[in-house]
């Protein structure tokens, strides 16, 4: 039950750092409100687990501060920070029963047995573990074990934040859905700050109110799922989120005009200046349509997913994917594309030009 703030946080696993690549995390600033559900989204190795372990206190950052409710807690141990963390692989205490597993964090904090009993039964009820409370924990299936891990994180009512480190990796797909909605439900019930790390966009977008996208140790964008989809601030967000991802094409900027494949196109922003090394235009496949004029392309293939068609086309400077309605007629051979102006953005050195 706390606001989590990260200020100028950087971390490196090396003793000396010579280039950006030596940093696992670079200059991270975050404000997470009390009671929010947040997701940290990014590919493997982007530093999201490192960031999580820094917040929980398992790793001491090289630079920067961590604040809970505006109090600096950088030097405190995980116990003193009073957070809960659930790991990628279920961690259970083999020799204990399910009940004892759930009671363990409370017993370590010397809470009276009667209180523990009430709390454990309440959590077991939520996670549908009541019928197995007296069983040995080691006998359960992977999802049962992960539920215990979740339960141990949720059982303490006074935690500052609950953190999840890709907790559904080892769970079967159909159980994933159930557990994920369970988590969402729990968040609404207990209303505590939850931080959820994942590389799966569906998980992040369904769980969180605010998604933080990480790329090579940096935060590239924070926003609601809709923001991330409709206005990616970095080309990485564009192609990491969405299926298929955003089309990114090289462009030239001449004065105030954006030129792709020799054609002037309209984008969302007004371009005032350009001193970038690399300039690109990004547009999602959802926001491209066939037209009588525009960017000339060659249609390569059409695949029908049932709900919609995905069309692969080739332009002078690269491939462009288009999503069209299942019922739409697709021209063959040469065609022309029109980009929806509001959803077409110009990027300078991978960052959106404001």
């Amino acid at each position: 039950m706390a606001k989590v703030t990260l200020k100028g946080l950087s971390h490196s696993y090396l003793k000396t750092q010579s280039s950006d690549a030596d940093w696992a995390i670079r200059g991270v600033d975050i404000d997470w409100n009390d009671g929010g559900a947040y997701a940290l989204l990014g590919p493997s190795g982007c530093g999201k687990t490192t960031l999580l372990n820094i917040i929980s206190g398992l790793i001491t950052p090289t630079k920067g501060d961590i604040l809970f409710d505006d109090k600096v807690i950088s030097g405190l141990s995980p116990v003193e920070r009073n957070i809960a963390q659930i790991f990628q692989f279920p961690v259970i205490y083999d020799t204990m029963t399910v009940y004892d597993n759930l009671a363990f964090p409370l017993r370590n904090r010397k809470i009276p047995e009667e209180e523990i009993k009430v709390k454990v039964h309440e959590i077991a009820e939520m996670l549908e573990l009541s019928s197995t409370l007296n069983n040995r924990a080691s006998g359960l299936t992977a999802d049962g074990k992960q539920k215990i891990s979740l339960g141990r994180g949720l059982v303490r009512s006074d935690v500052n934040a609950i953190m999840f480190d890709e907790p559904l990796t080892v769970i079967d797909p159909h159980l994933k859905w159930i557990l994920r909605s369970k988590l969402k439900e729990l968040h609404q019930k207990i209303n505590r700050t939850m931080i959820y790390v994942t590389h799966d966009q569906t998980e992040a977008l369904t769980f969180a109110d605010q998604v933080v996208v990480m790329h090579e140790g940096q935060i590239v964008q924070t926003g609601t799922p809709v923001d991330l989809f409709e206005k990616p601030k970095h080309t990485f967000v564009g192609y990491f989120i969405g299926s298929p991802g955003m089309n990114v094409l090289p462009c030239q900027i001449k004065g105030n005009d954006v030129i792709v494949n020799g054609k002037k196109i309209e984008t969302h922003q007004k371009i005032k200046k350009s001193n970038f090394i690399k300039t690109e235009v990004g547009v999602r496949p959802e926001f491209i349509s066939f037209s009588n004029e525009g960017i000339p392309v060659k249609v390569l293939s059409v695949s029908n997913t049932g709900r919609h068609k995905i069309i692969d086309t080739e332009s002078e400077t690269g491939k462009i994917k288009i999503i069209a309605k299942s019922s739409e007629d697709i021209p063959s051979g040469t065609a022309f594309l029109k980009f929806k102006k509001e959803y077409t953005f110009t990027y300078g050195d991978s960052w959106i030009i404001e």
Partner: protein, 288 residues
């Protein structure tokens, strides 16, 4: 799917059968032969039935050496297992310390058994040995060749020195296989160091510890060379463990019948204890 019946395949089993026959079955059958018969040489045998077995089972001497054997084995297990785990827990987990510790730990295991016996014999001699002389200089009345307590003390110390490393290496391997997430979760759950040890480390080490206890039980129960070189079973019969007593009977007194019967009883005790121990340890596993 039906399997084809082809009895010719048995021919392929013959080489293995012959090998096993020569290195195990035939020698064992010789012992069985002696155990049920009396011989005065010249390949003349007389049937004695279970006489030697009865004699051994009722003999005070056998009871005494069996008692000494169990006492010795329990003492060294009681010292080596906890000590081995304790050392493994304090060993470094990364860096240059790891190979250094591993090599140092393996050293005693690489020394031939009779050399270990000879080393400790000289080391412990009361007049010239470093250990014996030092103890006497410090005011202890120490003489392992004369005093029963000192002989036991030296034998146990030698075995602990020689074999604790095995327990250390097995425990260390078990400890290293524990995922870091377990320690992190325990830290977040607020577990004490003792709780981490009893709730995570010990349960995760259970399998390797079962193997360590089994190996140390079998080896110490069949121990021969080291005490033979160190004390020769003395003073008197004070450190004459089962195998030392057995060799005395078979080769010293040339009582082949009783010695053969004793070998078989010895063999069955080892088998029985190992089986009972293993079944008990694994029964819990099956329940889970």
């Amino acid at each position: 799917m039906n399997k084809t019946v082809n009895q010719k395949a048995w021919f392929f089993v013959i080489p293995v059968f012959v090998l096993v026959a020569f290195n195990a079955i035939i020698p064992l059958m010789t012992v069985v032969n002696y155990a049920f018969q009396e011989t005065f040489g010249n390949n003349v045998f007389m049937w004695e039935g279970t006489r030697w077995f009865k004699q051994i089972m009722l003999s005070e001497r056998f009871h005494a050496s069996l008692g000494r054997q169990f006492l010795f084995t329990f003492i060294i297990l009681f010292i080596q297992i906890p000590l081995g785990i304790a050392i493994a827990l304090t060993m470094p987990k990364e860096g240059i310390g790891v190979p250094v510790c591993l090599v140092l730990m393996s050293m005693p295991l690489l020394i031939p058994w009779n050399v270990v016996g000879a080393m400790w014999n000289i080391f412990a001699l009361p007049d010239i040995g470093f250990l014996g002389h030092s103890l006497n200089a410090l005011g202890f009345d120490y003489n392992f060749t004369q005093q029963i307590g000192d002989a036991w003390f030296t034998t146990i110390l030698m075995d602990v020195w020689h074999w604790t490393s095995l327990v250390v290496l097995l425990s260390y391997a078990g400890l290293r296989s524990i995922q870091p997430a377990y320690y992190q979760a325990a830290e977040i759950d607020g577990a004490s160091r003792w709780a981490v040890f009893t709730k995570i480390e010990l349960p995760k080490m259970k399998k390797v510890l079962t193997i360590a206890i089994l190996l140390r039980f079998m080896d110490s129960f069949m121990i021969y060379t080291e005490p033979f070189v160190l004390t020769g079973g003395g003073p008197g019969n004070a450190t004459a463990f089962l195998s030392i007593d057995l060799v005395k009977m078979a080769l010293g007194q040339f009582d082949l019948g009783p010695a053969a019967a004793m070998s078989l009883i010895y063999f069955f005790i080892v088998l029985l204890v190992c089986w009972v121990f293993y079944t008990l340890m694994m029964r819990n596993e099956a329940k889970q």
